[in-house]
């Protein structure tokens, strides 16, 4: 007993994990609490004459048409981008998992965009989507068609979706590792039993990697809900106040929050928007965790019910 006590003194654990614990309290928990307090005021960021307004910001938010429209738009955006990127990265992984000529080269090519800084990504795609000189419109004109204004309402929304999907490669690498973790005996057994290629994929491979697909989906939702920089940088304006020029179709929820903070200087109202969003994301994540658990296959799961559903 005494030896065990000396081997793992409690103090050592607390000392080693202190940087994270202190950082979590000061830079994650405190800002959240502070943000809540600010949301109960009419603070404007500079003037010292702010006062408590209670829940008035929240009441105003309930009837804020722009915020609700942005919320609906953001949910639509996530509902579109997340399935596309999960399916897309799985598709890329399936391609790369085959015996191909120069497979390493293709893997690099597909993965590369996911490490490109967002600023450079936006500059590149603005050049591609440019109305006069972009490669898309140059191609359209060469085919005798009319130019399309890609970066204006409503097509700019689709431009944003394309830009988001460009970084699929990060997910592909994860899916690829998952595919390579599926025991080949399982797929071979199914083939011997006469299953077609698609049904092997659908009924053996996909259920086996469902935890990874599910994890990618959840992270994808969280990422999609906090998208801010991409629509901000797809405008022609510069600087923080450029947020006012984001086209209507790209006014996602975080864009509205950002505008309240840095264009309208309504820190109190912006904080209220953030807090409502925080609770909404938290709730959504918990719901997703609960509902998907029933049809995701976990190797270590001893409960027979989910396994049955997975088959």
């Amino acid at each position: 007993m005494a030896r065990k006590w000396t081997r793992y003194p409690k103090k050592a654990f607390y000392a080693f994990t202190a940087p994270w614990a202190i950082g979590f309290i000061l830079l994650t928990a405190l800002p959240l609490v502070y943000g809540f307090l600010v949301s109960l005021t009419n603070f404007d960021g500079s003037s010292p004459r702010w006062k408590w307004v209670g829940l008035r910001n929240y009441v105003e938010l309930m009837s804020d048409g722009d915020a609700w429209a942005a919320l609906v738009r953001t949910l639509g955006f996530a509902a579109l981008v997340v399935p596309l990127s999960v399916a897309g990265s799985l598709g890329l992984a399936v391609i790369i998992n085959r015996r191909l000529i120069a497979v390493g080269l293709w893997r690099t090519v597909f993965f590369l965009p996911s490490v490109v800084p967002v600023v450079a990504m936006a500059i590149m795609w603005k050049l591609v989507f440019n109305k006069d000189a972009g490669i898309l419109n140059v191609t359209l004109r060469a085919l005798g068609l009319d130019s399309v204004g890609w970066l204006v309402d409503p097509t700019v929304f689709w431009a944003l979706v394309v830009v988001m999907l460009w970084g699929l490669g990060g997910g592909m690498v994860i899916m690829l590792a998952a595919l390579q973790g599926v025991p080949p005996e399982l797929e071979e057994a199914a083939i011997v039993d006469g299953a077609g290629k698609w049904s092997v994929f659908r009924h053996v491979t996909v259920p086996m990697i469902s935890p990874i697909i599910f994890f990618q989906g959840i992270t994808g939702v969280i990422v999609a809900l906090q998208v801010l920089v991409q629509p901000l940088l797809l405008t022609n304006a510069t600087g923080l106040t450029g947020v006012g020029t984001v086209p209507q179709s790209n006014r996602l929820y975080m864009i509205e929050v950002y505008q309240e903070f840095f264009l309208n200087n309504r820190f109190g109202y912006g904080s209220a928007m953030l807090w409502v969003y925080f609770l909404a994301i938290l709730g959504l994540t918990l719901v997703l965790l609960k509902t998907t658990r029933s049809f995701v296959y976990y190797e270590v799961d001893t409960d027979p019910a989910p396994k049955e559903a997975a088959r």
Partner: protein
């Protein structure tokens, strides 16, 4: 799977015998290369278009006529990109912040990751759950209140936030280090414990040197994160102290205030070069870390 050669002659016969048909079909690959070329155009096309734009005159870029290639490569765009704003100063800012941030976050995360992997105390499980949940917390939700908070204590337009973020560790890096340290055998520390060494010494003299690949991964990843970050420097720093990422979106305008796309493209090329260089040299570290993040175990 193992025999590639007999597959081809067998194809014709196997098509008629139903069950085995699908096994062999994968050997006729033509369409997949067409698909791969289309995907390559999608993933690489924007890079090429960026470089071409960076080599054109403004006239060539905007002309109604179709000019895919510039008549003569305009290297002058790069000269303008370097001189129109103080490119060197902004690069130094980016470099300074990225270095401070990544060195601090790597060391602090190694320490915390070691704690979670090898040490025990009441509350460890709960703390680990909190750590893993913060990995799911959208950054932007804490970033904006942090801005308001820091503006109250005069930390805006200083580099201190990056030092604090570095010291505070990143849940992702902690997880990476924890996974590594858990795999090492207990015997490593036994001799040192018998000799009376404390955990601090055990960590610094035995475990930290062993974790070199994870240290490198963590350093490279956090360095490129910081180099690529737009939103934090845009919010926390004024234009004269900001990073290259923000500067290249804010400068390169003609007198009317419109961005000069060719010069901005040249600046963007210069800005992504270090990232691409790091990526090509250390590609496997990037891949390994994103795989580690996706597969929890």
């Amino acid at each position: 799977m193992t025999s590639t050669l007999p597959a081809e002659p067998l194809t014709a016969e196997k098509v008629t015998s139903n069950p085995a048909r699908t096994v062999r079909r994968g050997r006729r690959p033509g369409w997949i290369y067409i698909l791969i070329l289309a995907l390559t155009a999608f993933f690489i096309g924007p890079f090429i278009w960026l470089v071409l734009a960076a080599l054109k005159t403004p006239g060539e870029w905007t002309s109604v006529q179709i000019n895919i290639l510039p008549a003569a490569a305009q290297w002058n765009n790069f000269v303008e990109a370097l001189t129109e704003m103080d490119f060197t100063a902004y690069t130094m800012n980016s470099l300074f912040l990225a270095t401070i941030y990544s060195v601090l976050i790597t060391l602090s995360s190694a320490v915390v990751g070691f704690g979670f992997a090898r040490l025990r105390a009441p509350g460890k499980k709960a703390m680990f759950v909190v750590l893993m949940s913060t990995m799911m917390l959208p950054n932007i939700l804490t970033l904006l209140p942090t801005y308001v908070m820091f503006s109250q204590v005069g930390l805006i337009n200083t580099y201190w936030p990056w030092v604090l973020w570095g010291l505070a560790t990143s849940p992702f890096m902690v997880f990476l280090f924890r996974q590594f340290f858990t795999t090492l055998p207990r015997e490593l520390e036994d001799a040192a414990i018998i000799d009376g060494a404390g955990w601090g010494r055990i960590f610094f003299s035995i475990f930290l040197p062993l974790s070199r690949p994870v240290l490198l991964t963590s350093f490279l990843l956090s360095f490129t994160w910081s180099w690529s970050d737009y939103i934090a420097p845009a919010i926390f720093l004024d234009l004269d102290r900001t990073t290259l990422a923000v500067a290249i979106t804010a400068w390169y305008q003609d007198p009317a205030g419109n961005v000069i796309p060719t010069v901005q493209a040249a600046a963007a090329v210069l800005y992504i070069l270090p990232v691409l260089l790091i990526f090509f040299v250390f590609q496997r570290y990037f891949i390994r870390s994103s795989v580690g993040s996706g597969i929890k175990g």
